[in-house]
Subunit: 474 residues, 2 copies
């Protein structure tokens, strides 16, 4: 062991001492809430944990999550909402699951957006000619065939737009150039840009890609038009081009862009896929794991959300293979049409609203499947105490962190906001938004070992919640 | 100060102890070689160093390198060899220099390659349809208008190609998929791919981009055809697509690509630009600083080599502004047509071969202008001892490292290999090859403070070498 390692250990030790105090207090409260018996019961699942981890990390399942994910995304590539390729990929997942002798599979049809990107070209004409790398945003309308040529106004935020005089915006192309803070905070500039700009009379809106890093990488994403505005074309530009145009305008020069975009938009029928590993005692009670199967039309959708799809596929498969049948049902859902606004999740919630009391706990992985760190949990204090106690079983892989989050995940927010407890996979996803919604969302972002850890963790957590003697309280 | 900082200091302290031994020994030898008087003389330049650093980091020049570089690359964008825009950018640099009342400027004409990228499209047809992000390599010929459609053979290295049977390569598209180690080692797969593949009967060659990281980023670069082979089209593909095709082929599936590429190739006249700040005692003796003004045709060429161009432009400008006229002449050279094979440097070396004895020392920055760390130096031991002694003056900015390198830089290798001592800027360029020869080579890679440090360091080093009482020995 070298000096650096010793030091890192020392740092970790000191960090753990200071963190330990906070955890200790929480622990004391949780201990009172849960009682010794439940705590003992939860810790008794160490054996099951070991069995699952051995099987996934060293046994027959080693590397399987990565391999199956790679085969899947290599075969289908991008799987946008409303396309035949998405429906074929759903059929493939059903076959893959049936091949594991899991046959409680149903699909539920729903109407989904089908927006198709056509040719897209944005050219700076003044002060010099330059092509911009762009990606139109979901649901964007086309430009006229001759394109839209106009001067650019660049604003940092909505306030700056609102404070502009109508005549300074009218007939212009607005570029939204927000400072990236978090995705949650900044992505509103993508989803509302066209509506906001149009309301002030702009003829098109461009948005600085919602990302902290770029190699000339445009990031697409969804947007929707408000009710009472003219629908204007809208696209994402790169961080580099946003900064370039900002510098040129700051020097007092005029920027003129020509935007040519085409697309088509209608609706199609797609399906949510529901895979059940029936519970041995209380099959009506559900512990749901989930990810979305649709992706954007660029890249492979390996990260968003191929990884989440496959760790959620793996959970019932691993339990079935190990002959581990918990008390409650473990349900795996492959959501459709997440990218256009949680369309699959809304349909599921509506369809199953009467049986919502059956959902004991709902989990989702849609923020990357890098090394697992724990869970982001919505629920009351008792629910969180139970989950925190379960997470203690993952100390050896450093996945014990419980993040309190009242709206974790994306699709499951539709369910948890009705008061049902749930969690999203908390993972080491620092670079997630470097690749998110770009052509770089491919298997190159994924790591075999981290996917194994994800599958093992996800499966074990789902099993324990589905098997313990108590329901997760609301 | 927190525990982490203390620990880092401790690590640095231990590292410095062990390094100190090596440096101590070198120091002892250098001390004998240089003698106390020269060492004292060199250390007396601390005042000049302080004056230059104050002026560049806190004074009137603060931020100027970044601002002037930004204005330049924003105005011209990419500046490929043989284009009008490159010639205009050369005129601009001459004007910018004259505006500093520096008028010893000459340009020297030479013939340069003029390769123009046309439409480029590579589509996977089997096992499914997918567009690949590609960039044709410099000098690549076009495909026939209908494109080239053929099966893919993928090889890791030249040995694997050589060991293949002729009938397995003939008529195929070869993909070179080398493991990236260093640029120097790996880039041979770009420069020689077409020739090697063609010699075995391939109809086109594609190369995994020479880079350690990618967001679906193809990297262009130069290649040249060997004498006795059919010239076949050649392009760079992304790391992601190389890995995708590798996985598909490993699964026993056949990959068929369609390549459509067009380009034109002729020669034009361009110019090396030579700016002299004449020495006060020995104006014939030259200390050269340099960078290349041409770039690839993608991105802005801000990093490769706008930064090197501008720190080399800054050296005579800063000295002139501070009225610091060294004994010898400080010559700044803006090389042309580096990217197509050091064309400008070869022309300069040939033209000035008879006066090569006048070059006292030659410097180049073409590997990024991130935080300066020191110099990579070619020369005999005495020469290196002098440079090492000069570098001791940059302890406060951690730029004291002397890397022994018998062929530092790119353009200046043409000169140093004739026995002339020289150096390349050693800088904190860990991510250099993430952006190199991509559309992401823009101002976003550059940092104002680091460019200031670069200009101050570069100028001070050049001044001291140009002013000390001894020549740099050969
Ligand atoms: Zn997603
Ligand atoms: Zn270069």
């Amino acid at each position: 062991m070298n000096i650096y390692n010793i030091c890192v250990l020392k740092i970790l030790f000191f960090l753990s001492l200071s963190q330990a105090n906070v955890i200790k207090q929480e622990s004391d409260t949780c201990q009172q809430i849960l009682g010794d018996e439940l705590i003992r019961e939860i810790s008794s699942y160490g054996n099951v944990r070991d069995e699952i981890f051995r099987y996934v990390l060293e046994g027959e399942f080693k590397g399987k999550t990565y391999d199956e994910l790679a085969k899947f995304v290599d075969k289908f590539g991008a799987r946008p909402s409303g396309t035949e390729v998405l429906e074929n990929s759903i059929d493939y997942m059903i076959e893959l699951t049936r091949a594991e002798d899991i046959n409680d599979i149903v699909t539920e049809e729903l109407e989904v957006p089908h927006w198709t990107r056509g040719e897209e070209r944005v050219t700076m004409l003044q002060p010099r000619v330059k092509n911009l790398s762009v990606l139109g945003l979901g649901r964007s309308v086309s430009t006229p065939p001759e394109g839209i040529t106009a001067e650019v106004v660049i604003v940092t935020d909505f306030a700056e737009l609102e404070n502009s005089r109508e005549e300074d915006i009218k007939g212009k192309i607005v570029i939204f150039d927000p400072v990236y803070t978090t995705y949650g905070e900044t992505s509103v500039y993508r989803s509302q840009s066209a509506t906001r700009a149009s309301a002030k009379g702009a003829v098109a809106s461009l948005v600085r890609s919602i990302a902290p890093f770029s190699i000339d990488s445009p990031h697409t994403g969804s947007q929707s038009y408000g009710q009472n505005v003219t629908q204007i074309p809208t696209a994402a530009i790169t961080l580099e081009d946003a900064d370039l145009i900002r510098r040129i305008i700051n020097r007092g020069e005029k920027v003129i862009l020509k935007i040519e975009m085409s697309s088509s938009y209608d609706t199609k029928i797609s399906r949510n896929t529901i895979v059940d590993l029936k519970g041995r005692e209380n099959p009506d009670s559900l512990v749901i794991v989930s990810g979305h199967i649709d992706s954007w039309d660029v890249g492979q959708g390996a990260m968003d959300d191929g990884g989440g799809l496959f760790v959620s596929w793996a959970a019932p498969v691993i339990l079935k293979r190990l002959n581990l049948q918990p008390r409650r049902t473990v349900r795996s859902i492959f959501w459709t049409a997440e990218e256009f606004g949680l369309i699959g999740a809304y349909a599921y919630e509506e369809k199953h609203r009467d049986e919502n009391h059956n959902i004991n706990f709902i989990m989702e992985s849609d923020e990357g499947t890098f090394a697992p760190l724990g869970l982001a949990v919505a629920g009351n204090q008792e629910a969180r105490c139970i989950i925190a106690e379960i997470l203690k079983l993952f100390e050896s892989i450093n996945a014990t962190t419980l993040v309190e989050d009242d709206s974790p995940g994306s699709d499951i927010a539709v369910i948890t906001r009705t008061g049902i407890p749930g969690a999203s996979l908390h993972n080491d996803n620092e670079r997630y938004f470097w690749f998110h919604h770009t052509a770089g969302d491919t298997m190159n972002v994924e790591d075999e070992r981290e996917l194994d850890l994800g599958s093992a963790f996800w499966t074990t957590v789902a099993y324990i919640i589905a098997d313990i003697s108590v329901d997760i309280p609301r």
